[in-house]
Amino acid sequence: MTVLEQPGAYRPTPPPAWRPRADAAPLLPDAEPYRLLGTAAAADVAADLLTRLHRELVHGRRYNAQATALTRQGRLAVYPSSTGQEACQVAAGLVLEERDWLFPSYRDTLAAVVRGLDPVQALTLLRGDWHSGYDPRDHRVAPLSTPLATQLPHAVGLAHAARLKGDDVVALALVGDGGTSEGDFHEALNFAAVWQAPVVFLVQNNGFAISVPLAKQTAAPSLAHKAVGYGMPGRLVDGNDAAAVHRVLDEAVRRARSGGGPTLVEAVTYRMDAHTNADDATRYRTDDEVEAWRAHDPIALLEEAMRDRDLLDDRSVEAVRESAERLAAGLRERMNQEPVVDPMELFEHIYADKTSQLREQAAQLRAELEAEAEAEADESEKGAR
């Protein structure tokens, strides 16, 4: 029997011998988002996990602020902040093993950084010196995906390939609430379920797709309910509860790794900043709504729970904030250096071998650049005289 065969698979035999493949009940998400922090179960969460989550949350928030500041200084072309969504980002960045793969979208640089990526490399797309700043295999982070939901089938294919090769690899793919409306979301989840690929889909439902609120995006009871239509479990989690997100993802990753197939996780969260620095969020949402969510802040939630367990005091909070400042300062400094770009690289990575046409065009650009340089040299010589 190959991995693709599913003995109990849904296949209508002539009625009346109707035999549905699976019971739908276990696939359905709970009616309420799953929460850990502030519940009795929070007491059992490993202390070092909480400490780790806390540090990354605080670092993450600082990172977002720094990146947004860099747009104002012209050091980033654009930045889609994940402030408010740090619990999702951090949990996604921490939950995987080294051999696993992360498939981020444009908003998920923080998850990639938490996973180990150099932030300068993670920000390359948004700085604009190249489309992607890292070798995806270094940290097993796929390039940030801009076309919405298109990264989801990639995650499925990669996880499927790994399984076929006998490798113990899980893929975690991130997508937004808006992205769930795309056809690629549907096709990816269906392939994943049919192939029982070891992949976890995390929908960060931050309430908006740019200006479009969720009510205009879906009429479903929840986005997690979509899972049942593919025959995979759907899980709903409080996306601002870092411990809860981590636990739900961890369970899904384990399930995938042990051959249990894919899971769809919806994390309910909120984007505190505008869509990007270029967006004006006041056009489509009220301050009241933003403030209501501020009262459910992922860092505050976690700090409260940790203080309850004496895992945090003012001194340790201060220490984490300081290290966050150092990280931000380092990032600022490095991003303030002008990136080295080489126009001739434009022709380098189109094909394994340059076509004769690309060689011609490269020669044309080189000649132009040389003429430009000569002209500049002439200018500065004149100036020097």
């Binding site: 072309a77 654009v78 444009y106 797309l125 948004l126 700085r127 604009g128 010196d129 190249w130 489309h131 801009t146 076309p147 919405l148 808006g178 992205g179 409306s181 795309e182 056809g183 690629d184 797709a209 740019i210 200006s211 479009v212 205009k216 995006q217 879906t218 056009r283 489509y284 990136p339 770009v341 126009p343 690289e345 434009l346 022709f347 189109i350 076509t355 046409q357 690309l358 011609e360 065009q361 650009l365 132009e368 650049l369």
Partner: protein, 364 residues
């Protein structure tokens, strides 16, 4: 079309930017015809990421200007159904590359429904696509995708280069009973001009190119040494959309070097105005096609080929092309090296065999 002025707005208001003129065209079309519906991502409450649809939802309600779910095939596919029921949908694709998910709907239905139904069911759909580069956009935000549309019979393909055309051609596109892919040059969105929407002569028909800058002086006047014909140092620059201003600038610069360049703005790629283009090339004897899109397999090949087919014996030199390189659109920091600029246009003009020197064959 031109008589449709919106109630309550006079001729006094003069939109400053192309984005505003486009918005005004939508507004006037919606006011004039209740079957015009705008739909797309963020077109309602936000007014579109480029603010082209600003105010429409407020003025006409969210059933006339609708924020859709985030799914381009769904947007265009439902627009097909709306058009089948007699509405006149205007669809916004947020950026060029984000129109690709709707490709099957566009190619297999929008372009073919009239043909399939023997004319019984035309689809008066306008697909607005903010397109092209030069705005420092990250990957997928700067594609020049016009060849995909041009090469698909059944679609009209329009690209304005001026504010007046932006208004007029969009009104014409919406009024057309054929589907129109309306390419909005992103980097001209903020171009400014004095303009009033109420001058009827500003609503051009679809399918007519225009000579933006006549090359009058040189026509047949001078015969430089070595020239085969007596048309002097004149040539035609042919372009559309965001490359038209480049060509005009190049023509201005060329004058200093003794060239008299005529600039043709195609305005519409489909239908293609062979007459205006060929008339100009016959006058000048030389031509350069300029566009941002990739050269290989791009619009310029078609344009050069059809000019050559039609004007072979009037040509002093092969029709040259100044285009984007044959590469994916580059990251922001490198885009200026990719985009055809004035210098590259002038270089091409210089290569138009002014002394009839035997220069061909070098490239291969």
């Amino acid at each position: 079309m031109t008589t449709a002025t919106a109630a309550g707005t006079g001729t006094a208001r003069k939109p400053a930017t192309m984005a505003q003129a486009l918005g005004r065209a939508l507004r006037d079309a919606m006011a004039a015809d209740p079957s015009v519906h705008v739909l797309g991502e963020d077109v309602g409450t936000l007014g579109g990421v480029f603010r082209v649809t600003d105010g429409l939802a407020k003025e006409f309600g969210d059933t006339r200007c609708t924020d859709t779910p985030l799914a381009e095939a769904g947007i265009l596919g439902t627009a097909v159904g709306m058009a089948m029921y007699g509405l006149r949908p205007v669809v916004e694709m947020q950026f060029d590359a984000f129109a690709y998910p709707s490709f099957e709907q566009l190619i297999s239905h929008v372009a073919k429904m009239r043909n399939r139904t023997r004319g019984a069911m035309p689809l008066p759909i306008t697909v607005r696509v903010p397109y092209g580069g030069g705005i420092g956009g990250v990957e997928h935000h700067s594609d020049s995708s016009e060849i995909y549309y041009m090469a698909t019979p059944g679609l009209h393909v329009v690209a304005p280069a001026t504010i007046a055309d932006a208004y007029g051609l969009l009104r014409a596109a919406i009024a057309s009973d054929d589907p129109v892919v309306f390419l909005e040059p992103k980097r001209l969105y903020w171009s400014k001009g004095d303009w009033s929407p109420d001058r009827p002569d500003e609503v051009p028909p679809i399918g007519q190119a225009v000579v933006r800058r006549p090359g009058g002086a040189a026509v047949g006047d001078t015969a430089p040494a070595g020239g085969r014909a007596g048309r002097g140092r004149s040539a035609t620059l042919i372009s559309y959309g965001p490359s038209v201003p480049i060509c005009l600038e190049a023509a201005e610069a060329a004058r200093a070097e003794g060239w008299d360049l005529e600039v043709v703005d195609l305005r519409s790629l489909v239908p293609f105005d062979d007459e205006t283009v060929c008339a100009s090339v016959r006058r000048t004897g030389r031509a350069v096609v300029v566009h941002e899109a990739t050269g290989f397999g791009g619009p310029g090949g078609e344009i050069a080929a059809r000019i050559t087919e039609r004007c072979f014996h009037h040509l002093e030199a092969p029709v040259l092309r100044v285009t984007g390189f044959d590469i994916p659109y580059p990251p922001p920091m490198l885009e200026r090296h990719h985009l055809p600029g004035v210098d590259r246009v002038l270089d091409a003009v210089a290569r138009l065999q002014w002394e009839s020197e035997f220069t061909e064959g070098r490239a291969v």
